[in-house]
Amino acid sequence: MIEEIKINEFDTKYFIKDIGYVIIRKLYEHLDITDVYINEDKRRQGYAYKILKYIIDNNSNYKIMLEVNEINTPAINLYKKLGFKKISEREKYYKDKTALIMEYSKDIYILAIESSCDETSVSIVKNGTEDIATIINSQIDIHKNYGGVVPEIASRKHMENITIVLDECLKKANMKFEDMDAFACTYAPGLTGSLLVGLECAKTLSLIYNKPFIKVNHMLGHISANKINNTLKYPLISLIVSGGHTDLIFMEDENNSKYLGSTLDDAIGECYDKVAKILGLEYPGGPNVEKLALSGKDTYKMPIILNDESYNFSFSGIKSHVNNLVHNEHQRGNEVNKEDLCRSFQDAVTEHLVSKTKKALLDYNVKYLLIAGGVASNSHIREELQKMCNSINVEMHVPDKKYCTDNATMIGAAAYPLYLKGEFATLDTNAKSNENI
């Protein structure tokens, strides 16, 4: 039975009779834990935990802090167990020993869903940066038969798979829906029918468990893939390269971003897929073009792409060039060397990406480059961008390959700052096929 008694205007004592006490001091929004004492014969029985937990639970509006001697390991472990984290140190605070300053912060778990194209994915993300469990169910084997994603089939598969993927993710994380602090999902851009499945599922979970629902833009998700096990440094420039996007975005800080440029026609991933189709390669074509390019040489002459002062990209010209080249050779009865053509094509589009990105970095004097999107998993493009960054002394960050292609982890990472800001969405949220960040 925990009782409390006010000592003076600022200090309150919480105690269990004949066991021990905790004294706190409240000042504005701060709550300092100033003294913890448990009778010697009652120690190591969980009483301190019980009293401190009671204080935490009943003072959720306060910033709770304490200091502890660095050699007091049992106490430090107790505070960590309660959710306190070290934020700084005060040297020689206790005579010759250092004091650790710890602050209570609850871990935030977000369950995120991604279903914008042909991957059904569910992930549980801790504090916006730690991947607790992620399941990705890809439908690629089905869509391969059609040479591309068939929206109606994708939507059907999402609906059939959604609870299975949820179930696998919870089991992998060994957690329950009740452990979640919020439910998030991609609501735009993407295939509407596919988006709707993830969206309705996340909204329903939010209704059932009475927890916030957070809607996330898919492209913001791709950028946020860089937050998984990493801290961003602003200002930065983000290059998004995927099947639907080729964008350069300048981000002054987390809340202020500006579109510098984007593709005037096809997206880079789309262009890779179309070139693959021209060469008769299997869907998904992008990775197959990359594979062939590995063993090829840059022998085919490619056009110089959009060599102007803008930050825009263009990929339809080079696609037409490859198409004409293959047809002309066919008409002459010749076969193209696919490896060499893939290599020449890849070198040309990479050069285009690198030069525009370099221009943006230099013009805006930015020292940090983020790469995001499915095409960021292309090793050649990663390497060439890295070389360029090294040459102008820019730090580059690119997510692990598994976080480059569509996944729900990045959606959880993107949802976290929205959670902290309280930017929640309502149950009438609809899917949108198109939306800029």
């Binding site: 599922c201 329903t204 979970l205 009438d428």
Partner: protein, 175 residues
């Protein structure tokens, strides 16, 4: 049996709460079920001051009808069923209208932009002409929730992961 009934197969969303013989039904005509279905359920729960885990049976119409509409209803029903471990039952839209009517030799017809979904007690098909089905008596496409519940009492629940939509019509890519 406390049953939650959801029908989203056409532009009219129907949600019913059935507690013993008390039926609480609300309908919304909607062009965007994603905007209306969950707010409707939420309003009804608040109005009756009940929670989703007060239900011990979910009945959902799984088509035929609007592909997107069906998927919205099914996704919501599956998510509730899976997370709260409530048995789920599916009924086709044609069957739901058929069991709601008492006439003999009956047939249910649901029109879409290019043809007709036709259902009788023996079959469900998609056709571009009703010429061959003149001998049947067409039912009014109206839901009688209590009669549907009587029908559900006679069938078994579906494994939540195995819940499938009843599209009837075959799309081009799958032909």
């Amino acid at each position: 049996m406390n049953t939650l009934f959801i029908d989203t197969h056409d532009e009219l969303i129907t949600v019913s709460f059935i507690f013993k013989n008390n039926i609480f039904t609300k309908e919304v005509i909607s062009e965007s079920h994603s905007t209306h279905l969950l707010p409707l359920i939420n309003d009804m729960l608040n109005e009756k001051n009940i929670k989703l885990n007060d239900f011990n049976r979910i009945v959902v119409v799984n088509g035929p009808g609007s592909f997107t509409g069906i998927r919205i209803g099914l996704t919501v029903a599956k998510t509730i069923s899976y997370s709260l471990n409530i048995p789920i039952y599916t009924i086709s839209s044609l069957k739901a209208y058929l069991v709601s009517s008492d006439i003999d030799n009956k047939m249910c017809v649901i029109e879409d932009s290019k043809g007709y979904y036709v259902g009788t007690n023996d079959f469900e098909i998609y056709t571009d002409s009703l010429e061959d089905y003149k001998n049947y008596n067409r039912v009014d496409n109206k839901l009688d929730i209590l009669k549907i519940m009587d029908y559900i009492d006679t069938i078994k629940p579906v494994n939540v992961h195995g819940v499938k939509a009843n599209y009837v019509k075959v799309i081009e890519a799958l032909k």
